[in-house]
């Protein structure tokens, strides 16, 4: 039956560059001790976190990096990290059956791998099987029902989407080249709980020799944690949220640069940030609102409309969510509300 489907539906494909790198199953990489669903890393595989994460339907994430033995991540004067060939970035998405109970059953959904090859980063998506014994290569993506009890006790059920290879790139592309999004200096410059205790991640990476050292570690920038109301100002938290959720596309060189809306942390032009900026190609995404941001008036701002929608033709970001990120929406509403009204 299975073979029949295969032969009926698919011609024999020639080799594809990604297939030179993609192993059929996650376990074959040897990143994790068996049983790999526990996600306990082996040898060179190191867990990490980023300051402000992308919202993806409240999925929890485990992140790991593997730098090849005796290799080092270097950086330039702009603090751009240059990962050595052979580096893996590994990210596993999971849900707890009850978000209020950290000990409730954990279901791993997908693991995404970014591998630095000689020419570029390649993205390889894996989908976890029902028994949670392994995850299987899924170049064309996948959809699966996911249910859990949310923080406030409501049961939630969504059709979760695992992106296909092209969708991976649609976010991870910068100037037409696939790139990691999260692990930048300012996102990594936070403490992490290692087995031996808490430590700044950059310090740790330098101490184990996978990262070139900095002249002055204490002066490096750090993205605030938008989830922590005591970290930074409202403006900094809102900008951190926009940076990680939107700016992978909405920045110069990103695929949404055509809109003229640039939401990266480095942007300072008010029009490019959306203030009194009319839409260009938003269509019904504009929601009958005139400007991306009307200072003081979130309810008149297109940005608020689009992050509050779950209609595929309206919502932003376009991928990675079926739900509204309530906390993020409240943050952006408060941020726009706080802006002085008028031009």
């Amino acid at each position: 039956m299975v073979l029949a489907v295969f032969f009926a539906a698919s011609p024999i494909f020639p080799s594809h560059p990604v297939l030179e790198h993609a192993l059929p199953q996650l376990s074959e990489y040897g990143f994790f001790l068996e049983p790999i669903k526990e996600q306990i890393p082996t040898g060179l595989v190191l867990p990490y976190a980023i300051a402000s994460p992308l919202f993806s339907d409240y999925a929890e994430k485990l992140r790991f990096i593997k730098v090849p033995k005796n290799e080092t991540i270097s950086h330039d004067e702009d603090l751009e990290l240059d990962y050595p060939v052979g580096t893996f970035l590994i990210k596993t998405f999971y849900y707890l059956s009850d978000n209020r109970d950290l000990d409730s059953e954990r279901r791993l959904i997908e693991t995404r791998i970014l591998k630095k090859t000689t020419s570029e980063w390649i993205a390889i998506p894996y989908v976890w099987n029902e028994d949670q014994t392994d995850a299987v290569l899924a170049l064309a993506g996948h959809r699966t029902d996911v249910s859990w009890i949310h923080r406030d006790g409501t049961p939630i059920n969504i059709l979760y989407s695992i992106p296909n290879m092209n969708q991976c790139k649609s976010c991870h592309v910068y100037k037409n080249v696939q790139q990691p999004i999260g692990p930048k200096v300012r996102n990594l410059n936070i403490e992490f709980s290692y087995d031996e205790g808490k430590k700044n991640q950059l310090e740790k990476w330098i101490s184990i020799g996978i990262l070139e050292s900095f002249n002055e570690l204490s002066s490096l920038p750090r993205t605030v944690d938008y989830e922590n109301p005591h970290d930074g100002t409202l403006d900094e938290r809102a900008r951190a949220w926009l940076d990680i959720n939107c700016a992978h596309c909405h920045r110069k060189g990103g695929p949404a640069e055509t809109s003229g809306l640039h939401l990266d942390l480095e942007e300072s032009d008010p029009t490019k940030l959306g203030i009194f900026k009319p839409p260009v190609a938003a269509g019904r995404g504009a929601g009958d609102r005139k400007y991306n941001i009307v200072p003081g008036k979130p309810e008149e701002s297109i940005m608020e409309y689009r992050i509050t929608s779950t209609d595929p033709g309206v919502m932003m970001p376009e991928l990675s969510r079926k739900l509204v990120h309530d906390e993020g929406v409240k943050l952006i509403q408060a941020w726009i509300k706080e802006m002085p009204e008028g031009r």
């Binding site: 698919s10 064309a140 092209n166 269509g283 009958d288």
Partner: protein, 405 residues
């Protein structure tokens, strides 16, 4: 081989088979491949995408034969998305009821749409997707024998691109039939553009990455009955286009409009306007809001006596002054001040020139003079003598595409 087996099995069993199979083909296609679409109506739940490919043809059995139906789409903001490719041909299929844009193509050198249809079946509705055929930031764009129906922005929209031909296509029931925006070197000819809010638009807009367009030729088109009520969602610039606009040229330069048949567009057969007409502000210091070097010649205008749109300030003004006999060519009278020489005149090459049209009446709104208060235009004495535009310009060169086949 094992890996391919695994991924095919997984995809085929879980996603709709047609969709996953097609998506996989789009991912694994190699240069020279043709991806064949069978006849049939295929429901698709998520955006189909092709990335980083070269020399690929996606070919159906006809625009009414192979239909990709997105009416039950649950994710993605496009029907088909093509990015970062080279030399791609889309042929003989249809994309319908996409939740956002029907076919978007970005960062691609060499994109051909041939006998492709983009359609929203419910007719003109503001809930329809924005663009039908949507190449943006592309080079060497060919759209031919295509059809675009009921897009809530533009049926055929070419934005921030270079080297473009749009020909022998039909657009109706859209807000804008065909739109060329912030693009350079475009030939738009032999199209049948009817029943839209505005027929053919050539715009330059501020605050975009690709700043300005120029050198656009619009010729040999039939532009008829573009009198549809504007159904664009508010906030979109195209929402400012008055119902009953045949051709609208805004804030751009070097446009030649010739040998078109422009019939029964109730408000403005051809409008040549600055960005100020939108009443939007811009802080884009590199943006030029004026028109210059516009040449309108050898067109046939015909217009049955009828009232213009009353849903638009300019329409009301026209109605007040002209009732049912509205001038065909309407200029806002805003020349680029940087082109005005010491003698107060604009050099010929930078002017609006109007010559040898059939049955073309002219109106200059002189925006800077007649619009000091909301009521002043109603008492203004507008110039309707086309002699002020009596000049000719050098013809623009033909667009030559660089597409390998």
């Amino acid at each position: 081989m094992r890996s391919i087996l695994m991924l095919c099995v997984l995809s085929s069993l879980v996603l709709a088979e047609f969709e996953s199979d097609l998506q996989l083909k789009l991912i694994l296609a190699e240069p020279g491949d043709t991806i064949q679409l069978d006849s049939g109506l295929f429901p698709i739940l998520g955006t189909l995408s092709m990335e980083g490919k070269q020399d690929i043809v996606i070919k159906g059995t006809g625009m009414n034969g192979s239909i990709l139906d997105f009416s039950t789409q649950v994710e993605g903001a496009q029907g088909l998305s093509i990015t970062n490719c080279k030399n791609i041909t889309l042929e003989d299929f249809s994309v319908q009821d996409a939740k956002g844009d029907a076919i978007k193509c970005q960062y691609t050198d060499g994109i051909t749409f041939r006998r492709v249809k983009a359609q929203w079946l419910g007719g003109p509705r503001s809930i329809n997707g924005a663009y039908g055929l949507y190449p943006v930031q592309c080079e060497n764009v060919l759209v031919e024998h295509c059809v675009a129906i009921a897009a809530s922005d533009a049926g055929i929209y070419v934005g921030q691109s270079k080297n473009i031909i749009v020909r022998f296509s039909e657009a109706f029931d859209n807000v804008a039939g065909i739109e060329i925006e912030n693009s350079t070197l475009a030939d738009v000819y032999g199209n049948n553009v009817h029943g839209n809010t505005g027929g053919i638009l050539v715009f330059d807009l501020p605050d975009l990455v690709v700043k300005e367009g120029h050198q656009v030729r619009i010729f040999d088109n039939i532009i008829k009955d573009n009198n549809l009520d504007n159904f664009a969602p508010e906030g979109n610039i195209v929402g400012k286009v008055p119902s009953g606009t045949g051709i609208m040229i805004m804030a751009t330069e070097m446009v030649e409009v010739f040998e078109n048949t422009i019939i029964d567009n109730k408000t403005a057969g051809t409008a040549i306007v600055s960005y100020f007409i939108t009443e939007e502000e811009t802080k884009d210091s590199q943006y030029n809001p004026y028109t210059s070097s516009i040449y309108i010649h050898d067109n046939i205008y015909r217009r049955n006596s009828q009232i213009p749109t009353l849903d638009h300030d300019i329409g009301l003004l026209l109605f007040f002054h002209f009732f049912r006999d509205i001038p065909d060519i309407i200029y806002d009278g805003m020349p680029d001040p940087s082109h005005i020489s010491n003698n107060g005149l604009i050099p010929n090459a930078r002017r609006l020139c109007i010559a040898d049209n059939v049955d073309a009446n002219y109106l200059n709104l002189e925006l800077s003079k007649n619009f000091n208060s909301w009521y002043s235009p109603f008492f203004a004495d507008f110039n309707t003598d086309a002699n002020e535009c009596n000049c000719t310009l050098e013809p623009l060169p033909e667009v030559i595409l660089k597409i390998d086949h």
